[in-house]
């Protein structure tokens, strides 16, 4: 891959012009003739029996076309453990439970109708603390499981664990041991485009759903299940993905509002749109889980890690999404961040009457890396070893197989750490600026970089369809949600096929026209789609060259004739075409087929469009469409044992922060952030940098600002007024991003997945810098000024000066 033409170049994203001009169509911008507007009535209790629902006033409101409750629709079950109902029946388990829904001719009428629905509740006992939820006499959030079997505890039947080596012996043999408990809050993914969908049935009851999803094909399967429950088994369910205003994990599950739109559309015979407003997005869409992580790590006298023991308590909320499987990804840092010979990991996932949670970028990894990397700094201090040295001593290396069984192909962690250290001026500044209340800190990460197998297939399909003009139309089941997948596809297809980027067109993701893909998550989108593209491109080139073997000489003859006609003095090239041409004589680049032996003479180059037309418009003609399905050579882990090589390669990185803390106000000022990531190979630097910058901002929000506040299950800050995400004003400090290219043997063009890593180590890097600055350790995110002041006060009490 010596002469790459497009990979690594900064081609502007193909989707950007439409987005810059207001032409891109998001779910909020779509409407259909005759479309109705749906609105949902949410529960006003965290745990209650629904005694009675009176919908009569809502039904009488002019413009209302349907009012649904759990009592007058078929039971539509969904969720990762099928513990949720589209419309709840008889019982609510969280504040946002959907208990009724309206379709009306106008959004205002729908909202008014929802207000007119009267519900009588009988409050029931509730539990909001995951620890209390595990106690024996805790009220059961679900008395029965999806198949009707009685449940005995609020613990989910999702066991994720790991044990390598003799923990007790390793702990006893350790020279230094440090333990700590670290917590993380509920986080709103905060997509700027709120959730929504449009459902439409045709006259034969086939469904089309425009959905804000990252998993069009798994969603299709879920929605087909709903159709079956509605007595419409076997009908088509077509999922179309419009332009997404961000996703960040919110699209990894199907949602009650989607099923409700389907039910309303079927009941009314009209298309129905449901669009959440910002308050609904905050209060009624699942946030990122909160977690409590207990971690203990030890090392010997040389700083070699001896063991790591991790216990996680995860508040699931009232229902289960894919996000409940966070611990599957927590296994990565637990077992495989730095070389640790003895590892124990256990996660308890617990039902409560809090809002139920779902995935967000990083998928459990930030929660765990926060704990491990904070704790590691504490260990370094106790052991009297420099924190960067401690990490260097235990750094992961290429070729190693970790306790989880991860096969580390390439690994640039050491270089990432070195670079972060250099850029932070570590030896000059670490531990030396306390007088100025300034400090530096760092943290590393490991994440899946070549897909993440948490489903039986981790595959991705692609179809390349060549038209008569030499253009390539790409259909993929992977989803562009803002991350730049289409930019990566354009350069990847151009490179792998041998056409110009402007000859590549990406089709909208649509289950009717695109091949299956498990979903755009786990930083896998570009990795998988491009891996499939590589296979498809090879097939296309083979077919083109086979055809060229027969047709090329004739086309060259025509080239020469044309030139002669234009210019009688034209001299044909001084090159003898071999008497019989073979496919291996050819190459294709920039949309032209040529002989590898004579690449330069324009008369000996034939446009791909001409060859394609020759192939198409002849007796027994053919068209060029190729497809490929790539499923990486990975294993679906055994979750109870916590073993299995779930990704084809792993992404590493390290980040550093320099901070100043005002000990009077508790205010933390970021002086600079450094992010160095092993990305395998840079496909498009600008897009890649954008992924890191954006993730960093989310990591900084996670570290310092963001938290959904709740009181007995009710969300108290459902809006940007009281839930602060970083603005451009907060992000006013130097950010240095650098990439380590390890050219991974597995990755397409050597690349690894990069979507999530940028926010994984940010919070611990900042916390470690704060400790370096003022000597207090905050173990509870976000690190607010109040917490810093409280910690300073406690310390002052403990050792009066």
């Amino acid at each position: 891959m010596s002469s790459l033409r497009h990979i690594g170049r900064d081609l502007p994203r193909p989707d950007a012009p439409d987005k810059a001009t207001g032409k891109a169509l998001y779910i909020c911008d779509l409407s259909l003739p005759g479309m109705l507007h749906g609105k949902i009535k949410f529960s006003e209790h965290a745990s209650a029996r629904i005694v009675h629902i009176d919908t009569s006033k809502a039904e009488r409101l002019p413009g209302v076309r349907a009012v649904l409750t759990g009592e007058n629709v078929p039971e539509v079950r969904f969720g990762f453990m099928r513990d949720n109902l589209a419309l709840k029946k008889g019982r609510v388990r969280q504040f946002r439970d959907e208990i009724a829904a309206v379709a009306a001719t106008d959004p205002d009428i729908a909202a008014e109708a929802v207000e007119l629905i009267e519900v009588e509740y009988e409050p029931l006992p509730a539990v909001f603390c995951p620890r209390q939820a595990l106690e024996e006499d805790a009220p059961l959030v679900h008395e029965r499981d999806a198949s009707g079997r009685p449940r005995k505890s609020n613990r989910l039947a999702l066991e994720v664990g790991h044990a390598t080596g003799d923990l007790a012996a390793a702990r006893a043999a350790s020279r230094h041991v440090v333990e700590g408990e670290f917590t993380t809050p509920l986080i709103q993914q905060s997509c700027m485009g709120t959730a929504g969908c449009i459902a439409r049935f045709d006259a034969r009851d086939n469904l089309t759903l425009w959905a804000k999803t990252q998993i069009p094909f798994l969603a299709q399967r879920d929605f087909r299940g709903a159709l079956a429950a509605m007595g419409l088994a076997g009908r088509e369910c077509r999922v179309i993905v419009p332009t997404l205003g961000g996703a960040f994990g919110t699209g990894l599950d199907t949602h009650a509002y989607e099923y409700i739109a389907i039910l309303l559309a079927h009941r009314t015979g009209r298309p129905v749109k449901i669009l959440y407003d910002r308050r609904e997005e905050f209060a009624c869409l699942s946030p990122r889980q909160s977690s409590v992580v207990h971690v203990e790590q030890g090392c010997d006298e040389n700083g070699k890690l001896t063991f790591r023991d991790v216990r996680v308590l995860q508040d699931n909320g009232a229902y289960t999404s894919w996000g409940a499987t966070y611990p599957s990804v927590m296994l990565l840092p637990a077992t495989s961040l730095y070389q640790v010979p003895v590892v124990s990991f256990r996660a308890d996932i617990v039902y409560t009457n809090n809002t139920y949670c779902q995935a967000m970028r990083g998928y459990g990894n930030p929660e765990l890396t926060w704990a491990i990397e904070s704790n590691l700094d504490e260990l370094a201090e106790v052991a009297g070893i420099d924190a960067l040295d401690l990490r260097r001593i235990n750094v992961n290396r290429p070729g190693e197989v970790t306790p989880m069984g991860l096969k580390v192909t390439s690994c640039g962690l050491e270089q990432c750490l070195e670079t972060v250290g250099r850029k932070l001026r570590w030896s000059e500044r670490r531990g030396k600026q306390r007088g100025k209340r300034r400090g530096v800190g760092l943290a590393s990460l490991v994440h899946v970089g070549g897909g993440g197998r948490i489903y039986r297939s981790d595959g991705s399909g692609v179809i390349l369809r060549f038209d008569d003009y030499g253009n390539v139309h790409v259909s993929t089941g992977a989803v562009e949600m803002g991350q730049g997948l289409h930019a990566a596809l354009v350069v990847g297809v151009a490179e792998a096929v041998g056409v110009r980027p402007e000859q590549v067109f990406i089709n909208q993701t649509d289950t009717a026209t695109c091949p299956w893909d498990v979903g755009t998550h786990a930083s896998r989108g570009a990795y998988m789609a491009l891996s499939a593209v590589m296979i498809a491109a090879k097939k296309a080139r083979e077919k083109i060259f086979r055809f060229a073997a027969g047709a090329f000489a004739g086309e060259v003859g025509r080239n020469i004739e044309k030139r002669r006609k234009k210019n009688p003095d034209y001299r044909p090239p001084d090159f003898d075409l071999p008497a019989s041409l073979e496919p291996e004589h050819f190459d294709l680049a920039d949309g032209e087929v040529f002989l590898t032996a004579a690449p330069d003479d324009p008369a000996l180059r034939v446009g791909l469009d001409r060859l394609l037309r020759a192939m198409h418009f002849c007796r027994g003609g053919d068209m060029l469409t190729v497809e490929a399905f790539y499923d990486p050579p990975t294993e679906l882990p055994d979750w109870q044992k916590g073993r299995g090589n779930m990704s084809a390669t792993y992404a590493y990185g390290a980040q550093g922060a320099a901070v100043e803390v005002d000990t009077d106000t508790g205010e933390v000022t970021l002086l600079g952030v450094v992010a160095v990531h092993d990305v395998g190979r840079v496909l498009n630097r600008q897009t890649l940098e954008g992924q890191i910058y954006g993730a960093l901002a989310q990591g900084i929000g996670y570290a310092l600002y963001e938290e959904i506040l709740t009181e007995r299950g009710r969300i108290l800050n459902p809006g940007f007024t009281d839930y602060k995400i970083p603005t451009v004003a907060e992000m006013a400090f130097p950010i240095e991003v650098e990439f380590v290219e390890t050219n991974d043997e597995q990755g397409p063009f050597g690349a690894k997945g990069v979507g999530e890593p940028g926010l994984v180590p940010t919070a611990p890097a900042i916390a470690n810098a704060i400790y370096d600055a003022i000597g207090v350790r905050i173990r509870d995110l976000p690190i607010t000024p109040e917490k810093i002041l409280a910690a300073l006060a406690t310390r002052a009490e403990r050792k009066p000066r």
Partner: protein
Amino acid sequence: MKIPLDFQLNGHPTTAEVHPGARLIDLLRDTLGLTGTKEGCGEGECGACTVLVDGRPVNSCLFPAPEVDGSEVVTIEGLAEPGQGLSILQQAFVEGGAIQCGFCSPGMILAAKALLDRNPDPEEGEIRRALAGNLCRCTGYVQIVGAVRAASRKLRASAGEEVR
């Protein structure tokens, strides 16, 4: 009761009738079909709905529609002249990687235009102040600030040209 409005929208004389309590964003998106203006919060907190009224950036989710009577309103649809490609500022956003999901982009671009119209050569701090009311969850703002600076340079190089 509806109020008749007569105003300039992206350079075109426009008339409409609105309820006294109507929001400008609904007039633009629902009545006039200009869906480029986005609603991110409806509470004046995100800036996705930013449009220019007489050159001033306003949150159209809070701005009363009746107040545009007699004014000049510019939305994202009014920046690129048909057939002329993107404006210098839009092009800078595209080329600078300042757009990811793009939901914040129309509002961000208009807030930046208002700034550059006022001050073609803003300091970085001024850029940050001008954009502080516009939330973006995707980009971390680095490439957005870079794009505004690039646009400022280009615009000054082709001095005299209006910031489209």
